[in-house]
């Protein structure tokens, strides 16, 4: 599998993601500067990493969503190629309308960095195939604008189609406001588009991929993608 990690001015988890994917899968990972208008030939997965692109000024992700490279990302996703946005990358995906909704300031109005428990709600995506439905995993969050918001009617659509892939829960898998760190609607931590090939999530799987850093649940996430592609999840398009 071939991965491209886009670097925007102000990205700061780009090297982390590159390290984590390489370390887990040993696959080829290319860094792509935001001014590029093309992705490397044969890219299977594009990752928009976390950070503070353009300082999060105006609205987080707003300016990065208008970068030249996003045309290529849109095209890649439009043909069924895999796109993953983590944290600021998720914000960029909503700002570019590749995913619905918006990420508003946390309900605490402050930045929150801490490990969080998530339940995997949909295992039918290219990113979650190796998890069990309802499995509780621990990925850390680190964001100021992570409150996922969607108008009520669209939210219903999203839920109906299984678009909510990750939800904040207790270590035992229970829902409830006290386990929802940022106030996201329906405790949503990550969503996928109707076609299933574009995923955005606020928590950081790359920060949970090594035992020495406190957890390895994230490795299953990377392996899921690799296994999807190996099992004939088409290189440049879904079935």
């Amino acid at each position: 599998m071939k991965t491209a990690v886009v670097i925007f001015p102000g990205s700061n988890c780009d090297q982390d993601v590159i390290h984590s994917v390489r370390d887990t899968l040993g696959c080829e990972v290319n860094a792509v500067w935001h001014r590029e208008e093309r992705l490397p030939e044969g890219t299977d997965l594009v990752i928009l990493p976390g950070g503070f692109s353009y300082g999060d000024y105006l609205r987080s992700g707003a300016m990065a969503a208008r970068s030249p490279v996003m045309g290529a990302v849109r095209e890649h996703g439009g043909h069924g190629g895999l796109v993953l946005g983590i944290c600021n990358g998720f914000q960029i995906l909503t700002e570019s309308r590749l995913l619905p909704g918006v990420l508003l300031p946390n309900k605490t109005l402050s930045f929150i960095c801490r490990p969080c428990c998530l339940s995997v709600e949909n295992t039918e995506t290219p990113f979650t195939g190796l998890f069990e439905k309802g499995q509780v995993v621990q990925f850390p969050i680190a964001h100021g604008d992570g409150l996922f918001f969607l108008p009520a009617d669209e939210l219903e659509d999203l839920e109906k189609r299984g678009g909510a892939v990750f939800r904040y829960v207790s270590p035992g898998g229970d829902g409830g406001d006290e386990w929802n760190p940022n106030g996201s609607v329906n405790s949503i931590a990550g969503i996928v588009n109707p076609e299933g090939n574009i995923l955005g999530l606020m928590p950081h799987p790359e920060r949970a991929s090594e035992a020495i850093l406190g957890g390895e649940d994230g490795r299953l996430f990377w392996r899921s993608v690799a296994s999807f592609l190996e099992k004939g999840g088409r290189r440049h398009g879904l079935q």
Binding site: L58, A62, R66, G101, V102, P105, L147, F149
Partner: protein, 83 residues
């Protein structure tokens, strides 16, 4: 001629305004009981080179659509000086 354009951005009705709520709570707890509610938005000023005020308005609208405003949650109002 460089024209001064004011853009007022506010959250749409129905969008969670946590900042507004928090500001209102803080003000009330500081003793401002007369406050009913508060809303927090953005005030963007643009200086645009344009022949006419109408031209500046059009350009500003374009900028709002291109970048300044997220229509999913926000709405805006524009004032052009001298219009």
């Amino acid at each position: 001629m460089l024209r001064h354009v004011h853009v007022f951005v506010q959250l749409k009705e129905g969008v969670l305004d946590i900042q507004g709520k928090t500001v209102a709570n803080s003000l009330v707890s500081l003793g401002h009981d007369s406050l009913g509610s508060a809303k927090v938005g953005k005030y963007i000023q643009l200086w645009i080179e344009a022949d006419s005020a109408a031209g500046a308005r059009k350009e500003a609208e374009q900028m709002c659509d291109d970048l300044l405003v997220n229509p999913i949650i926000e709405q805006y109002r524009i004032e052009v000086e001298g219009e």
